[in-house]
Every structure is written in structure tokens, then in C-alpha cells.
């Protein structure tokens, strides 16, 4: 195949003359024969190892209790909530890419939405496990759900903790619907290209017997549009939802109306970082550089930069408000964030999310996979530090000086957190193998549109 130019100034960022067959070969080829089996085995192996680590830590935790973590009085919420917020935030980017860009008809999004939606799915699952493990009595987590019971008791709907449970569930269900509906036609293609009987059967099931009938397409488009319209406000609701977890308490440093938008920005920001990372990885692993081009990376870089600045604005406002409000304790808490024992988290967040980010002003940095990956990684670290900075220091500086304390995560905190990447990686690497990672039919459509023959 002839060397493609670096950038295509097409709406979909893909070579104009790409035929349907070529697209199909790129997308569905890996399902029959994986281009980089060795690399994949490594990826999967690492994933399994991390998953084992996760299971082991979870077992220890369930056997002994949350006391295995570093939490204490007054830091009742430690890694459990921290990583929950971090993972859930990451999830949001997937929804944004597939839903928002679909609505405003950006055809280049077709190369990215599938891998982003799959990321959302796994990130939300990683997040959802945390609040359960963080419970004192995890086996009773279902008490937060509404179901008729002999005690006649219901959840306490005034509690943001209860809202969160609903937020996760609805976000999970809507993301799954969006993902599945969007993937039906591709599963049909996979079905029709499959050679093995088993593969045919399985993809056939997933495809629900899709025939590509225009009557079906009409319904499909309407449904997808509706789902996209729903997904956007849902993202805002969910990320505000878990910001309420902090803002609804009287705690200085949490009790702020700034948090909901602040959290949305941060969430999408961290999400784009992971999408960029995954895009770079996927295009190499599946060697589909023709579909996920450098122009895509460039665009992701821009998005990262934009959302990064929104987050930075959040920092500014958060720094400004306590002094504007003039409440002594608010200022105390702020100073603790800046100069307290956990000041590293604040400054790490600033360095990564504001400092390193600026590299993305340079086109070359955005377009070179290595450099973009480096920045994205920095942003992921930075966003974790930010969540830490928002969550922990205020707890260590309570209203009564006598109740002030500190926080040091234990080994088990870390193993569970690092292990949670296994929870993400194992299914995701299986997706790479068995799910069409690019929305082929949409790419084809875009190509035909571009060529003006449809």
C-alpha cells in the first residue's frame, strides 16, 4: 500500500481515496488475524498480573475491613473516593467524543468514538467498584438501592451518596446502550466477514440480524441522535453528582458552588488524556495509522489544551474565592493545600495540568505520537494529584483544631489502585482482539460523502 501523506485536509482526516474494502480490511482484518500478536500478549499479560493484584488487595480488604487502608479520623475518605472520582471523570471523555461530536457532525470522530466508548465503559466499571469496596460493610452495598423490603426502608434520597449510586447506574446503562446501538452495523459486518462458525454465531448475535436495510438505518439514525442528546446532559449531571459528594458537606474547601463545573472540566480533561493515549496505542497495535491519522492526534491535542485551560480556570477561581469570601477557615484550608503536608499534590497538579500542558501549543508535539503520549500521561497523573488535593487536605484541617490530623495511604491503598488498571486493561485488550475498534460504516459513509458519491 502506497505511503500516505502526513495530513489529509478532509473532514474525516482520512485519505480521500480509501475504498470501502480497504476500510473493512483495516477494521475487521485484526479480528481474523491480529497484526501484532506479541505486543498484544504482553499487554494482556500485564493486564492479568495487575488484575490478580487487584483481586488479592480486594480480598485482604474484604477479609479485614477498611482499616487496611490509611483512612482515619478525620480523613474518613481516602483513596476509595479519590480513585472513584478520578476513574469516573476519565469515563466522561468517551461520551463527549461520541455524542457531542456526533451531534455537531464532525466526521473525524468516527475513527475515535468506538475506542473512546469502550474506554468509558471500562473506566465507569473501575470507578463503580471503588465506592463498594470503600464501604465499611461492602456486602450490604445494595441497601443504597430502592427496592421494597420487609423493613419498609428506602434509601435516604437527600444524601449525595445515594445520588451517586443512581448516577453511576444511569451513566453505565446509557453508555452501554449508546455503545451497543452504535456498534450493531459493525457487528453485522464482522458477522458477514467472519470465517469460523462460532465467530459468525457470536457476531450474529451481537448484530441482532442487522441487514443494512434503509428502513432500519432510518430508525437507527433517529435513535442514535436521541441517545447522543441524552448523553451530553448526563455527563454534566453525573460529574456534578459526585462533586455534590463534597460540596453538600459543611467542610471548608469542599463547600463550594464552583465544584460542579470545575469537576466537569477536569473530568473531560483527564478523559481526553486517556483517549489520546489509547488512540496512539490502538493505531499502532492494530496498525490502522490510515484510519487514526496524525491529524486525529493533532485534534486530540487541541481538545486537551482547551479543556486543560478550563480546568486551569477552575484552579484560579478556587484560589481566589477563599480570599474573596474572607472566611478564616477557608483561607486556612487553602493555605494547607498550597503549603501543607500534602502541598505536593497541589503543585504536581499545577505542573502537570497547567505547566506540561502548554507543550501542546506546538503542532509538532501534538502530532508526534511519543510526545503527545507523554503529555497525556502527565495530565493523567496531574488530574489524580488534583483529585487528591481537592479531597484530602480539607479533611486534615477540620473546624476544630483538636480534630486536625493527617493521612498516609498504606500499601493496600496503592496495590488496589494500581491493580485497578488491570480491571481496565484485561477487558480492553480483549476488545482489541474481538471488537471492531473503529466505527467502519461511519468512516465509509464519510468517505463516500467526501467523494460526493452518496
Amino acid at each position: 500500500m502506497k505511503p500516505e501523506p502526513l495530513l489529509h485536509d478532509t473532514g474525516h482526516f482520512v485519505a480521500r481515496d480509501l475504498s470501502d474494502q480497504q476500510v473493512s480490511r483495516q477494521v475487521f482484518g485484526p479480528l481474523q488475524q491480529f497484526p501484532r500478536p506479541v505486543a498484544w500478549r504482553w499487554l494482556f499479560g500485564i493486564g492479568i498480573a495487575l488484575l490478580m493484584m487487584y483481586l488479592a488487595s480486594a480480598t485482604v480488604l474484604l477479609a479485614n475491613g477498611v482499616g487496611m487502608w490509611g483512612n482515619n479520623q478525620p480523613v474518613h475518605w481516602g483513596f476509595g473516593i479519590l480513585n472513584y472520582i478520578w476513574w469516573l471523570g476519565i469515563g466522561h471523555a468517551g461520551t463527549f467524543i461520541s455524542a457531542l461530536l456526533w451531534l455537531i457532525e464532525r466526521p473525524w470522530r468516527h475513527s475515535l468514538n468506538r475506542l473512546a466508548e469502550l474506554m468509558t465503559l471500562m473506566a465507569v466499571i473501575c470507578a463503580a467498584l471503588y465506592p463498594i469496596l470503600h464501604l465499611g460493610r461492602p456486602w450490604l452495598f445494595y441497601w443504597t438501592m430502592p427496592y421494597p423490603n420487609e423493613m419498609g426502608l428506602w434509601p435516604q434520597f437527600k444524601s449525595p451518596t445515594a445520588w451517586d449510586m443512581f448516577a453511576i447506574l444511569s451513566y453505565l446503562s446509557v453508555s452501554v446502550l449508546f455503545l451497543l446501538v452504535g456498534a450493531i452495523p459493525d457487528f453485522a459486518t464482522a458477522r458477514d466477514r467472519a470465517t469460523g462458525v462460532l465467530a459468525q454465531r457470536l457476531y450474529g448475535l451481537m448484530a441482532l440480524g442487522w441487514r443494512g436495510s434503509q428502513r432500519h438505518w432510518a430508525l437507527w439514525r433517529q435513535t442514535t441522535r436521541v441517545l447522543a442528546m441524552l448523553a451530553i446532559p448526563l455527563v454534566f449531571a453525573v460529574s456534578s453528582g459526585y462533586s455534590f459528594l463534597l460540596t453538600m458537606g459543611p467542610q471548608s474547601g469542599w463547600h463550594s458552588t464552583l465544584f460542579p463545573p470545575y469537576f466537569v472540566a477536569g473530568a473531560v480533561f483527564s478523559g481526553f488524556a486517556l483517549v489520546a493515549l489509547l488512540a496512539i496505542g490502538v493505531r499502532w497495535l492494530l496498525s490502522i495509522e490510515a484510519l487514526i491519522t496524525r491529524r486525529h492526534l493533532d485534534m486530540l491535542g487541541r481538545l486537551l489544551l482547551a479543556t486543560g485551560w478550563m480546568t486551569a480556570y477552575g484552579y484560579l477561581a478556587d484560589l481566589f474565592m477563599p480570599f474573596y469570601g474572607g472566611d478564616a477557615h477557608e483561607i486556612e484550608v487553602l493555605m494547607t493545600r498550597l503549603a501543607g503536608p500534602h502541598a505536593w499534590s497541589f503543585w504536581l497538579a499545577i505542573v502537570c495540568n497547567v505547566g506540561v500542558l502548554q507543550a501542546l501549543w506546538w503542532r509538532s508535539v501534538r502530532q508526534r505520537p511519543g510526545t503527545l503520549a507523554a503529555v497525556a500521561l502527565a495530565v493523567l497523573v496531574g488530574m489524580w494529584a488534583e483529585r487528591f488535593m481537592l479531597l484530602i487536605p480539607p479533611q486534615t484541617r477540620d473546624f476544630l483544631v483538636s480534630a486536625w490530623g493527617g493521612y498516609t495511604p498504606t500499601l493496600w491503598d496503592w496495590t488496589l489502585f494500581i491493580g485497578s488498571f488491570g480491571v481496565f486493561l484485561v477487558p480492553y485488550s480483549l476488545f482489541l482482539r474481538y471488537v471492531p475498534m473503529v466505527s467502519a460504516f461511519e468512516v465509509k459513509q464519510a468517505l463516500h460523502k467526501e467523494r460526493g458519491d452518496a
Binding site: 470501502d20 474494502q21 473493512s24 419498609g152 426502608l153 428506602w154 434509601p155 435516604q156 434520597f157 437527600k158 445515594a162 445520588w163 443512581f166 448516577a167 444511569s170 446503562s173 446509557v174 446502550l177 449508546f178 446501538v181 452495523p185 453485522a188 459486518t189 458477522r191 458477514d192 466477514r193 448475535l205 441482532l208 440480524g209 442487522w210 441487514r211 443494512g212 436495510s213 434503509q214 428502513r215 432500519h216 438505518w217 432510518a218 430508525l219 437507527w220 439514525r221 433517529q222 435513535t223 441522535r225 436521541v226 441517545l227 441524552l230 446532559p233 448526563l234 449531571a237 456534578s240 453528582g241 455534590f244 460504516f441 461511519e442 465509509k444 459513509q445 463516500h448 458519491d453 452518496a454
Partner: protein, 174 residues
Amino acid sequence: MPESLGLLAEFDAPQPLVEASLHAWAMGYRRLDAFAPFPLEALLPLFEPRASRVPGIACFGALLGVALALLMQIGSVLNYPLNVGGRPLIAVPSLMVVTFLFAVVGAALAAVLTLLITSRLPRLHHPLFGAQAFERASDDGFFLFIEAADPLFDDQVTRAWLAERAICIHEVQP
């Protein structure tokens, strides 16, 4: 030889398919359908006017969700009143989040259900799959299918008419 279900004409590009379909429609064929790996916008309103119902039904689903959420939240406190932090039993601001979430989920479910029911999916097998080369409909094939049941359908005429446009024509056996 059994009675065929209709004729399946294969095209090599979306454009001729669209033209053929529109023409056929204009001629008065109604029981026809076009198959392509992606939606052909020119045909959609023609073939499936019912698709426009989806948003409406979604709104209905949303309302259902709202009703359910309010019933659950208000009902639970009325059925088991507790003094929680000295707040009023029915604290309107605290109802918002869950209600909204229920609305979204309700709408989404309604939309997807409409899709499945109206399009009669899942239907894992269909006679068309029997037709040779039809598997390319999900990949790079473009097909026009005219049912034998169509009042205008006449094996000779329709076949001839299609032959002028399509690459090749297949009979679809039941």
C-alpha cells in the same frame, strides 16, 4: 421451483442504488427496500417515515422516568417519615438529581426499545441472507430489493427494468 420472494439487484456504488430506488419509488413500487453498509440519507424519509416518532417516544419515556422518580422519592418519605437533619420531609432541591437521572434513563430505554420493536429486530435469520453475495451488504455491497408481493411487480418487467441499472440480479428464495 418455488415462488421467489422478489428480486435483489446489486449495485457497485451507493449513487446508482439511490437513483434506482428513487426511480422505482416514483414508478409506484412501494414494497421495496435498499440495502447498504451505511445510511443513504436520500432514501431514509422515503422508506421509514415512522422513524420520526423516536424522539417523541423518548420524551414519553423521560416523563415516565420523572414520574417514577418522584413517586419513589416522595412516596418513600411519606410511607416512612423520618426527621433527617431537620430538613423538610419533601425537600424539593434534593429531589432534582435523581429525578433528572431517571428521566434520562427512561428516555434512552424508550428510544432503544422503539428502534428494536419498529425494526423488528433482533431477527437473526432472514431469507435475504440466503441470497448470494448479499453478505456484502454490510461491507461494500449496495442492493435494491423489490418484493414479489408488490402489486406492480412483474417478474419479466421488473427484472428487465432492474437489469438496465444493476450489475446483476438475484432471485431471493424463501
